[in-house]
Amino acid sequence: MSDITAPAPAAPNPAPPAKSSILRMLWADKFATVAVVFLGLVLLCAIFGPLLLGDAAGGQNLRARNAPPFSLERGWLYILGGDALGRPLLPRIVVAAQNTIAIAAGAVAASFVIGAALGLIAGYSRRIWSEVIMRLADVIMSFPSLLLAVIVLYVLAPSVLNLVLVLAITRIPIYLRTTRAEVLEVRERMFVQAAQVLGASTFRIVFRHILPVILPTLLTIATLDFAFVMLAESALSFLGIGIQPPEITWGLMVSQGRQYLTSAWWLAFWPGLAIILTTMSLNLLSSWMRIALDPTQRWRLELGGRVNG
């Protein structure tokens, strides 16, 4: 009950985050605002890109091969230059956003759901299941992801879906371990006991009481992981066991363009920049979320620029 731990304990706490207040908190963090705007743009590209620019991205034109950027000579589509087959880079980056985002989002979503579910079971059941699941997580963690990629892509052919499968499996332990650790902590909290006293079923306790509490942590990890998965995908492309043409992803574009790095830097630079900006935006978003989703930290954002000294 010491007064200096919190600025004004008696003052009524801020309202729960309504839509407007989320926007206000976002606005308070200019970096996060820019990040969200950029991510929105990427998302738009991912959804509508192939529809609008699919043809332009595929059209070969060996005369425009490695066309340098910042020249409007061949039309605005070539503003970022052309690639080794003379395909304009800008539309290709826009179109590649779809696969890139689909792979990352798919892998993150799948590993999130499976990992969290297993983590909840492992954390809440005291029985043998917990042990089995944790050992399983250990096995997955030490299973070389490259080997997994080769196995899946060899047995099932390289496709976006299978790549999602590979990346999802390798990321499951992250969510599993985090969820379990959090559950072990949250299950000891008083409101879980209170629910037990009310006679709540295990299912209800896990999904109604525990899950919502750990969700922000998981979401924060998911945003970071999204970035990680994008980089992992590009590394797989680099090693030749990821997505292959004619599919395109940013990672693939970078890895294809790297051999032209000395002669035509823009081939690898622009898609690399797209990856960097997107992962950076996700990182910024995740730092913002860490604060915005934590009621004890939220005041930092709600204070906005006022304390800015």
């Binding site: 009950m1 010491s2 007064d3 200096i4 600025p7 004004a8 304990p9 008696a10 003052a11 009524p12 706490n13 801020p14 309202a15 729960p16 909290r189 008083m190 409101f191 006991q193 209170a194 629910a195 037990q196 006293v197 009310l198 006679g199 709540a200 079923s201 209800r204 009481h209 919502p212 509490v213 009621p295 939220r298 005041w299 709600e302 204070l303 006022r306 304390v307 000294g309």
Partner: protein, 539 residues
Amino acid sequence: MADHLLEVRGLSVRFHTAQGVVNAVNDVSWHLDRGETLAILGESGSGKSVSSSAIMNLIDCPPGEIASGEILFEGKDLLRMSPEERRRLNGKRIAMIFQDPLSHLNPVYTVGWQIAETLTAHGRPGDEAFARARDLVSRVGIPNPDAAMKKFPHQFSGGQRQRLMIAMALGLKPDILIADEPTTALDVTVQAEILTLLEELQAETGMGLVLITHDLGVVAEAADRAVVMEGGRIVESGTPHDLYHNARHPYTRKLIAAAPGRGDMRRPEEGAEPILSCRGLTKAYGAFTALDAISFDLMRGETLAVVGESGSGKSTAAKLILRLEEATAGEALWHGEDLLSMTPKEMAKARRQIQMVFQDPTQSLNPRMSVFQIVSEPWVIHPGVVEKRRWRERVAELLEQVGLKAEHAQRYPHQFSGGQRQRIAIARALALEPELIICDEAVSALDVSIQAQVIALLGKLRDELGIAFMFIAHDLPVVRDFADRVLVMKGGQIVEQGPVRRIFEDPREGYTQRLLAAGLDPDPEVQRQRREARLKLSA
């Protein structure tokens, strides 16, 4: 007057919060002389700690900011000194101890090192510092000081940690010691010991003592003078005797009126049938027995208080009855059926009739559920108790019953004060119309004035609805006002049980007597007598 040891003049401090600027303290002035004990009395949010933080340069800016005023130490304004000059005063001339010594001690260093650091930070050589630290550890009454020096904070009890904090603060014989709620969260007997220790040390060194507290009893026991704070302002000041007997400000009067332990004691009804009978209830964790074969009955409509110091096993008993933990042995008969051997299905049914209110409402309410969801959750779990279409209406009724408003249903727990949150928890417990509510320290975390309100509410519900209570508490005055019968526990066993009047007026066991004597009374006169009794008992 410049000849006070310490003088705070017109101090205003404000904090920036989401709601805008909050004036934590406003134009506060007080002073302290050598050898004197000044109590700063106030409830949470009153700003009672802020001026001392300002003295110690512990206010973080932002979000805090000193708006105006001066703090004169030996006539020099602390607020005009450089940070380095102030650092040299901290610990050497002015020292401070805090509530919750566990978190205020660095967990990863030995206590010996931490105590010695006070000296080394001010330039004393290491071996001298350690020798002095050892003397201090010994002086504050820690057994086997040489071994204690090498131990870590988590290896001590709460009372010992506070003693170590005191040792740390006194290393350089400061002129002023500021003690911020030094005994809150400690057991009554330990509280008395710590206050006595502080008093002795003050007599030895002649230091001035600032005692920040919310407890009138502490003021009555220890203070020479007191200031009462409310909402960041000093509303009244004077000697404890004056304040208690001639309080002028309504807030002071309200505080005094709210102090528990002076109402009429209840008389248990004769011949009521037991609804809960525990027989040989035992809980062992490996070799450690937390609860040692206790047996008791709880009658219909009765309030049974379970008192005892921390570690006495009183909460364990509640958890066993509610099957939050599995008992090692014994039975708990609920209307003749053993709760401990029920199948999950039978238990689910029994849970409808036994509810619980926890100590800390901040933690016992799910922060992500609205009040409506919290209060109606029992009905989701036990379908058929209340029809779904009536939920809204019934939640509103329950909220009003516990003194909240129907429109509060849409809010979330963090938007309420501590007392209000405990009301929500009570409303949830009432939702199933239980026969028995187990209150585990349900009011100990609340400010006195709020505590009084909640107790009054529980009393009202008991009278109107005929609910029985198992009231677990360490705070004897509250028990005295509320219970029908009292059960005194120590070390996992029942020491004594009987009607409340018998226990309070004629305690038979030495432990019960010591417990009663250690309690602090807000009336300085009563407290003086009690202290004499206590000293006699311990002699």
